[in-house]
Amino acid sequence: MDARQLLLGTFYTLVFPGFLFTATVGLFLTWVDRKVTAIVQSRKGPPWYQPYADIGKLLAKRMLIPHGSKAFGFLIAPLLAVTGATLSAVIVLLAVLNPESGFLGDLIVLIYLSALPSIALVIGGAASRSPFGAIGAGREMNMILSYEAGFLLSMITVMIKTQSILFSDIIAYQNTNGAMVFSLSGLIAFVVAMFAMQAKLGFLPFDIAEAESELIGGPLAEYSGSGLALFRLSRAMTFVSIPAWLALMFLGGIEQTPLSLLGFLLKFLAILTVCILVKITHARLKLDQALRLFWGKIMIASLAAIILALIGL
């Protein structure tokens, strides 16, 4: 690896498809989410700069470390969350813009990296010594174990159909054979992945770990200042990377033309809209209901998708 590549890699990670770009777009999408919620509730809603002002204010505030907390875990957790969100955004968006830049197994790496923000929440909540944090961390752990299983199985369905663990191959497969959702197994896997995405983003009806009205933010309850800002940034960044990832995996291939990229943007926005509409029209599930849903119906559906993929449907 020479100096130029290193520089390019740094630029990718910190500026263009990475931290700066994804954070800006993600915060904007957070505003869209809040505005749509306000319109549905017949309010006016916040101005467009609201999420940026929130983050700026949080960064300016002092960060308190509660007495008796495990300071190392408490401080490392927000950094882990942002790192995971940044790297997964880099991999997804580079696969969109330049599929040839992928490396062998980038899909597998992405699956692990995208779980990092949730795991950071567990670490932060458990280290904070707050009972709310501890309960939130336990719930988040339960949720990770349930939704990641369905999510993985839906990804494996795609891997079986394309016989590859490379994004470029998956895009090429969809370019020649049509979008993944047009096959039966692909459709089922897509629906499963949409459920899992809602849980991964921590949106209603699956915001069980944070549950503002009963757990006052769960793992985030003890975070203040920059720690909270980093968690919110990582949440905003996953709001870009995960819908983009699903659009890439299931909703058809992309060529390197402006029209095709515009089409990708529309698919991305469609997934986002469904996500927001589900969020504002559903109430929170209880933990046992969510676990029953993920380990029951969704698990059966995703296993069915794998079997269908194996017999070639």
């Binding site: 609201q50 700026g56 204010k57």
Partner: protein, 151 residues
């Protein structure tokens, strides 16, 4: 420059934590009114948060009873700097009808440094909004603090 940006951010995004220090619930109901969709304070970036760690402003109602005094002080320490304290109602302003009771501290000013008082029993939601805006410097103050110096 950075300072100016951060100041602007603070003015545009203020998260309040609602504290009851022994109030009769009149002020609490008015505070909840402010946060309802009718007044829609999210327009101004004001949000009700559920933990003092996330808060920028404490919206305190009640005359601060002796029992709750220690808790209010701990709550104040739990809010990260910079922070505002806003007293809502006649009781926080000067004890209200409990100003000389043995059971209260006779107003929030005897316990915490208060940034702004919003008098009224209870104050109207518009008055609370106006008070918060004054505390943030969004709206100019009507009366300046004055001190009499003997010549």
């Amino acid at each position: 420059m950075t300072n100016r940006i951060l100041n602007w951010c603070f003015k545009k995004s203020i998260w309040v934590y609602h504290v009851n220090t022994g109030s009769c619930n009149g002020c609490d109901i008015e505070i909840l009114d402010v946060l309802s969709p009718y007044y829609d304070v999210e327009r101004f970036g004001i949000r009700l948060v559920h933990t003092p760690r996330h808060a920028d402003a404490l919206l305190v109602a009640g005359p601060v009873t002796r029992q709750v005094r220690e808790r209010v002080l701990r709550l104040y320490d739990a809010v990260p700097d910079p922070k505002l304290v806003i007293g809502v109602g006649s009781c926080t302003s000067g004890g209200g009808i409990w100003h000389d009771s043995y059971a209260t501290c006779g107003g929030l000013g005897n316990v915490l440094p208060v940034n702004i008082y919003i008098p009224g029993c209870p104050p109207r939601p518009e008055a609370i909004l106006y008070g918060v805006a004054q505390a943030l410097g969004i709206v100019p103050k009507q009366v300046e603090a004055q001190a009499y110096i003997e010549e």
